[in-house]
Amino acid sequence: MHLRNNLNVMFNSQNLRRFAVIELITIVVLVCSGCEQPNITADAAIWISLPESRPRSGDNYSITVNWRFRSGASVVPGHYPLRLEIIGPDGISQAIVNGLYIDIDLDDQQHSLQWIWDGRVSTPDRGRRPAPPGDYTLYVSAAEYHFSATAKVYPNDYDQDGDNISDAIENENSGVQITFGTNTYDYVVDNLSRPPVISWYLSSGDWYANRGTHEYSLAKDTRGNGCLYNGLRIADQSTGYRYYPNTDPTDTDNWATLLLINELEQVARVWGATHSDYPMTTLDFSKQNGESFPPHDGHQNGLDADIMYIGSGTYQYGSFIVVNVGSYDATASLELMQLFNNLASVDRIWTSDQALADYYSTDKIQYLSGHTNHFHVDFLDADGSQSCP
């Protein structure tokens, strides 16, 4: 539209304008996944190049927009806005990128611009989540030239059905009853050799459409006086973490909101990428329905996680690391805290490492006594406080 307006100014003639419109609405449509420059002989072309790798759900997706205009092209050289849109497999627009510009010169040279899609789509209530696997349509336009391509998003290795609940969590919660609407359902793993689903018989129903929003898992009231509704269990272990029940009966102390679990697993995956021989150890979360969990003062509504500090020696499952004693590794422990700070929706992280809190604290990493053998992560309540029944 910008170019057309410009042309209207420049060519104040009906014939010239018709000519220009005919030329400029030339649409080149190619399905191009992983390809380089298409075989385009036109005087003007704009197209997309996609990576040859197999981008997975939640991975960064590098999108390169190319353009080439020959001297005979019917376009006025200049600075033009570029519009990029990502349309999901369901036909719903997932992102419209504005603010990009290209300079068109009639120089017969290929130019390119790179934009990184974070491999995520927006959800109405929980922010952005990894894009479910499938074929996404990329639509680009500039100077009234258009191009569309199919960008394939592959399942990642931890969430094969792409519902933003890891396979480990789905397996862990097989058989857990979830109340949604007026009905109660079980998490169902119909075949462990295949990616488990929340509930196979609802996979095409309303609830399936609701996957990714997960609003059935709710923290209610406060962490110091609250309850947990439809919480899920952290897995015994997965990439980058292991769960340690300690003196609590197994699977009584590892319940949390799904949002917390997802974010904690994301932190663990990043941690595990560089510390594969030293997983972080998860301790107490909340009880299945939340509520009082003495001697904890918090941990009542699925928003609290206790994490063991990191030691400098060989990882020993269940062996506590204590601040400033023995093999305590302040640098590595801080690294893990900062991952939580950067990757998760954290309210506060509490540590009793006073020196660490003094020197490196942010508003979110703070000192609190009683945390010499673990640090405590308070997650934000994404859906706001709701009242317990």
Binding site: P295, H296, S319, F320, V325, D347, D358, L368, T372
Partner: protein, 308 residues
């Protein structure tokens, strides 16, 4: 875990003055040396090493007896002992004299509190498995006049304990708060939400356990007092100083002198509290915010607090 009188790592504890010079001496530990206690003589500006925990241990907390003649501390080992599949910390209550000599060491103690007269100590016996998984076994008393006898007071489970000065009762917290009578050996469940009472008993507070926020209460009505101009989630330092006045704030930085009666601050200052002299209402503050690795003379300021 949090105790008003005991702040691990950096806080110095007032030597309640039984002598003129004692009021100018403070115990402290530095950020990076959590296994050594020092005594700082403010008058002569001299630091002396008082006690060093065994290798592999750290000092979690420490506190001077009200009589000023003994110091109690909790020392914890770093590598937990194994017990089947589980490991628990060795946690010792150690009582030392003013010269650092160990008078008594009791194993498997979770918390303790001095009696108001300073002649006894109450403690929670139990195991700490780490990660807030405590297995308390009850409350015991130890008289300084007979260090060989530990007297069981109650089977009540507790994670925190405080011996109140206003009524000589012992308050302990688990899920609820219990009041223990050390003479009658009775325990009564209360509706209180915290155990740290002011000197006159008119107020009490609940520490910022696990980030749930610092809360101040009126004892008589048992209702929370709204704190003006204070973000209670940021309060990780709390300490009664005199009558119904207390200091609250960030353990490292900004502090407020609070009147519980008003629920508002009387004044504010920045720095780390290393001691308070109740006779003169003077407070000693370490002003070097980021580097508490010792008590540099130039960094210590003495300030008179107006407590009205």
């Amino acid at each position: 875990m949090q105790k008003i009188l005991l702040f691990q790592l950096i806080l110095c504890q007032l030597l309640y003055a039984s002598t003129k010079t004692a009021s100018d001496k403070f115990i402290y530990s530095t950020n990076d040396e959590s296994r050594i206690l020092y005594v700082y003589d403010a008058k002569n500006q001299i630091s002396t090493r008082l006690y060093e925990a065994p290798s592999g241990f750290r000092i979690d907390s420490y506190g001077q007896s009200p009589a000023g003649k003994q110091i109690a501390l909790l020392e914890t080992n770093g590598e937990h002992m194994r017990k089947g599949d589980l490991g628990y910390a060795i946690k010792n209550l150690v009582i030392i004299n003013q010269n650092g000599k160990v008078l008594k060491r009791i194993k498997n103690v979770l918390e303790y509190s001095w009696s108001p007269a300073g002649n006894s100590i109450a403690f929670i016996r139990g195991l700490d498995y780490g990660g807030m998984e405590l297995k308390p076994e009850g409350i015991w008393l130890l008289s300084l006049s007979n260090l060989n006898t530990e007297d069981k007071l109650s089977d009540v489970k507790a994670s925190d304990i405080q011996w109140a000065r206003h009524n000589n009762k012992i308050y302990v917290k688990w899920k609820e708060v219990y009041e223990l009578d050390p003479r009658e050996k009775t325990s009564t469940k209360t509706d209180f939400q915290g155990i740290f009472f002011s000197e006159d008993g008119k107020y009490y507070f609940r520490p910022n356990y696990e980030g749930t926020g610092f809360k101040l209460f009126d004892t008589g009505s048992n209702k929370e007092i709204a704190l003006k101009s204070i973000d209670n989630k940021k309060v990780n330092f709390y300490r009664w100083i005199k009558d119904s006045h207390l200091i609250v704030g960030d353990i490292t930085f900004e502090k407020r002198v609070l009147s519980a009666k008003r629920g508002d601050s009387l004044s504010s200052f920045s720095g780390k509290v290393i001691g308070f002299n109740p006779k003169t209402s003077e407070i000693y503050v370490h002003k070097d915010k980021k580097a508490f690795r010792g008590l540099a003379k130039s960094s210590i300021e003495r300030m008179k607090l107006e407590l009205n």
